[in-house]
């Protein structure tokens, strides 16, 4: 096995110790950003040399405030006076984690086959195009409508993924470039559809590319009544994680996928068609991302614009890397980054720019994805790689 393969394996293996260090380090560096640029700290810089204590006190206060707001906004709001607003944060975390988990599973599947699916955005947008068509331009009975829209989203996304796999298998085009180009093609195509009155433009809509809200029969049902936004998405995400686990760890198809990922030449020698595996793997990877598209498109009760994909396709890469491409890891990583999204507004109210969470998110994954880096910083022993 070559040295570089070992490094990739090491990322996948992901020892708990290293992940814990990465998370802590991410939060620590994030705190520095948070403190150094907060208004109260900046104001104290002028008197830093006479009263340095003020600066450190202000910095400490900012960090405590920021993380308290993150906790209150994403887990349990301890300042709330009624149970609904007390427990709403955790339901928001679950709601926002759902698409990250689904898309993260898709990207993970690609990693396991040795494919880097950067095209989550494009695949999601194609799924959204299909789902929005079904949910706004067709009428069906309650329940069936939602299922059909969901399936169409998955099929559209999977088709886009299969195209990538086909181009890679047939022409050798690298999937990273193909998926990035398809991202832009898909977004422009969706925007075009959203602009046309006889395609997806909202009824009586003006110049803005925006669709009707999805039909009531197609919307994801709310799980905990109407005082919470939490919908079917999280159930689907957990279900998807189980399917992913079974597919990758227990099924024959998954075995083929993993074999191609481990060593494509050996897989070929063993009689597995590598090109065919690429097409299927990209299609299944994109199918999971299609679920996330359905979650975005059917989990809303207002009209959709092209930005509804919310960069989940890219966030999913960080989820997959942090989760080590395993079902359980992806669920936990999705929940963590979902909590970041849920806690953002609360931090904003406290005067801490929630964008700092983007820095923390990137740093955590950077440290996880660069095992030699963490090892070098903390002089850890080299992890055993099977």
């Amino acid at each position: 096995m070559s040295e570089s393969n070992k490094v990739l394996k090491e990322i996948m293996a992901g020892s708990p110790m290293r992940i814990a260090i990465s998370v802590l380090l991410g939060f620590a560096i994030g705190s520095i950003f948070m403190a150094a640029f907060s208004d109260s700290v900046v104001a104290s810089y002028a008197t830093f040399f006479s009263t340095p204590g003020d600066t450190f006190r202000a910095a400490g206060q900012t960090i405590v405030d920021g993380y308290t707001a993150l906790f209150n906004g994403s887990i349990v709001n301890l300042q709330a006076d009624n149970p609904v607003s007390m427990f709403r944060p955790i339901t928001e975390t679950l709601r926002l984690a759902a698409p990250l988990i689904m898309a993260g599973l898709g990207v993970s599947l690609g990693f396991r086959v040795g494919l880097f699916n950067v095209g989550g955005t494009g695949q999601m947008v194609m799924g959204l195009l299909g789902a929005t068509w079904v949910s706004t331009r067709m009428s069906m009975p309650y329940g069936i409508h939602m299922v059909v829209a969901l399936l169409v989203a998955v099929i559209f996304a999977a088709g886009t993924g299969a195209l990538v796999g086909f181009l890679k298998a047939k022409t050798g085009a690298h999937e990273v470039i193909v998926t990035i180009m398809l991202n832009y093609v898909a977004i422009n195509l969706f925007t075009f559809f959203l602009r046309q009155p006889n395609l997806l433009l909202e009824h009586g809509g003006g110049g803005n590319p925006k669709s009707d809200p999805p039909a009531l029969t197609a919307q994801f049902p709310h799980l905990l009544g109407d005082s919470f936004q939490l919908n079917l998405g999280i159930i689907l995400a957990i279900g998807a994680a189980f399917v992913y686990w079974w597919l990758m760890e227990r099924s024959t198809i998954g075995y083929r996928f993993r074999m191609v990922g481990h060593n494509a030449s050996a897989a070929k020698a063993a009689g597995i068609s590598v090109p065919k595996t690429y097409v299927w793997a990209m299609a299944v990877s994109a199918a999971f991302i299609g679920l996330a598209a359905a979650n975005q498109g059917l989990g809303e009760n207002s009209g959709l614009t092209a930005s509804i994909h919310a960069n989940i396709g890219f966030d999913a890469i960080t989820v997959a890397l942090l989760g080590g491409s395993r079902a359980g890891g992806v669920v936990v990583a999705g929940l963590l980054f979902g909590a970041f999204k849920a806690g953002s507004p609360a931090m904003q109210i406290m005067g801490v720019s929630p964008e700092v969470l983007g820095i923390i998110q990137a740093l955590i994954v950077l440290f996880v994805a660069a095992p030699p880096l963490i090892r070098a910083i903390f002089k850890l022993p080299k992890a055993e790689v099977k």
């Binding site: 070559s2 570089s4 047939k170 832009y184 890469i317 960080t318 983007g358 740093l363 994805a369």
Partner: protein, 424 residues
């Protein structure tokens, strides 16, 4: 002993014999221009305005019927497709400049079709396309330098964003835009050093690290923008832009004068850097060594070239150039930093490297195609409302897809691109 596999290109298979795809694609676009813009085109004359008022060599406007010019251009493009087919029959490749001429003819026809009954400000469109293409060209030059030595650089987007941010902030604080540009180059070079050392020394997957650097830079600039720049904009994010320098005599030339020779220093620097990178890469010992490292690191190592060090410094200097591209976004065009203002230009640059076949001049030409598509969309919205401009925006991406999938003939990346080198 680690075995370094030499695969036929990371991004696309090499093609030995010229394929029929080039003439077919050329013929398709020729027929498109001839039929949809020509025979089925819009009636009325189109007025190609070739020089600005006050030019020394004032050239009269070129007025012609929209249908007529497109029929003429369509036939010319058919002839080029025919030449390409004849060359393919003789098992010869279609030269890229021929394809470029066909592309230019098609673009000229598209302008004429869009603006039937109206005026086409040719030098304005060309000039705007150049200004918009500069960040893409410089970003792509950085990516090219990195890929030529065997390191895939997905982080161009992050480098552009870093450059744009630093140029604006440092330029404002020091009241000197040259310091701003310098800071942009240094910051982006440092970012490249991180990419290079993680990829070369720590053998982290180059694509993963590139994606993560992008995410990190977006996070940091977004945070600083909302926490700092948007609050204290006057003091830290108000740099202004470089002055427009008109080169005497040259700027008075019709069409190309105002487009190319009445521009900001960032544009002129690009004019210098493209041939410079080409010269170093293909005409000096330094460039030969770099290409050897990118094509066959084991062989390069055997003859005594330090693979790691070569890769490190080429990636780093490429980053500096990409940083200048970022500076061109703020102090070379807009005049202030905006949230995520690179908006995918780094990914376009990535595509442009491939479309331009890892050759500086072709890369610059491909970047102009994207610049042209961006300005065309803006202009078409005004001159011909109702045209689905989303499709105009889509064209360069589709062209890249076709090129990557091998339809444009021989597209081959440096053989060792994307592969870490482990000394055996």
């Amino acid at each position: 002993m680690a075995k370094v596999e030499v695969t036929p290109g990371m991004f696309s298979k090499s093609e030995v014999a010229p394929s029929w795809k080039t003439p077919i694609v050329l013929a398709f676009f020729a027929v498109l221009v001839l039929v949809s813009f020509g025979f089925l085109g819009k009636p009325g004359n189109v007025d190609y305005s070739l020089s600005n008022k006050g030019d020394i060599f004032a050239v009269p406007d070129f007025v012609i019927s929209s249908v007529g010019i497109n029929i003429g251009l369509g036939i010319a493009m058919l002839v080029i497709a025919g030449i390409s087919a004849a060359l393919t029959l003789q098992k010869r490749k279609t030269p890229l400049w021929l394809t470029l001429i066909a592309g230019l003819a098609g673009a000229f026809g598209l302008l004429g079709w869009l603006a039937s009954g109206k005026q086409v400000p040719v030098s304005f469109i060309l000039g705007s396309a150049v200004v918009l293409a500069v960040p893409i060209i410089l970003g792509a030059l950085g990516g090219l330098m990195s890929e030529r030595v065997g390191v895939v650089n997905i982080a161009i987007e992050g480098q552009l964003l870093t450059g744009a941010f630093m140029a604006s902030v440092v330029g404002t604080i020091t009241h000197n835009l040259y310091f701003g540009a310098l800071a942009a180059m240094i910051a982006s070079a440092i970012l490249s050093m991180a990419l290079a050392s993680l990829a070369i020394k720590y053998l982290v997957d180059q694509i993963i690290i590139g994606v993560l650097i992008n995410v990190l830079v977006v996070g940091i600039t977004n945070f600083l923008y909302s926490q700092w720049l948007s609050v204290a904009g006057e003091q830290v994010n108000f740099p202004g832009t470089f002055d427009v320098i008109s080169i005497p005599y040259l700027s008075a030339l019709p069409v190309i004068g105002p487009a190319f020779f009445s521009a900001r220093i960032t544009v002129y620097l690009t004019f210098v850097l493209v041939p410079l990178v080409w010269f170093i890469l293909f005409r000096t010992k330094l460039g030969l060594r770099a290409r050897a490292v990118g094509e066959h690191p084991t062989a390069a190592d055997t003859v005594g070239i330090n693979v790691g060090r070569t890769r490190f410094w080429w990636v780093t200097s490429g980053g500096a150039i990409a940083g200048l591209g970022g500076a061109a976004l703020t102090i070379g065009n807009v005049g202030a930093f905006g949230r995520e203002m690179s908006g995918g230009l780094g990914f376009i640059a990535l595509a442009v490297v491939i479309l331009g076949r890892w050759q500086p001049f072709y890369v610059a030409a491909s970047a102009l195609l994207f610049g042209f598509a961006i300005i065309l969309r803006v202009w078409a919205n005004g001159v011909a409302p109702g045209i689905p401009t989303d499709f105009i925006t889509m064209v360069p991406y589709l062209v890249t897809l076709i090129a990557v999938a091998g339809f444009a003939g021989k597209v081959r990346a440096p053989a060792a691109s994307g592969q870490p080198y482990i000394k055996g």
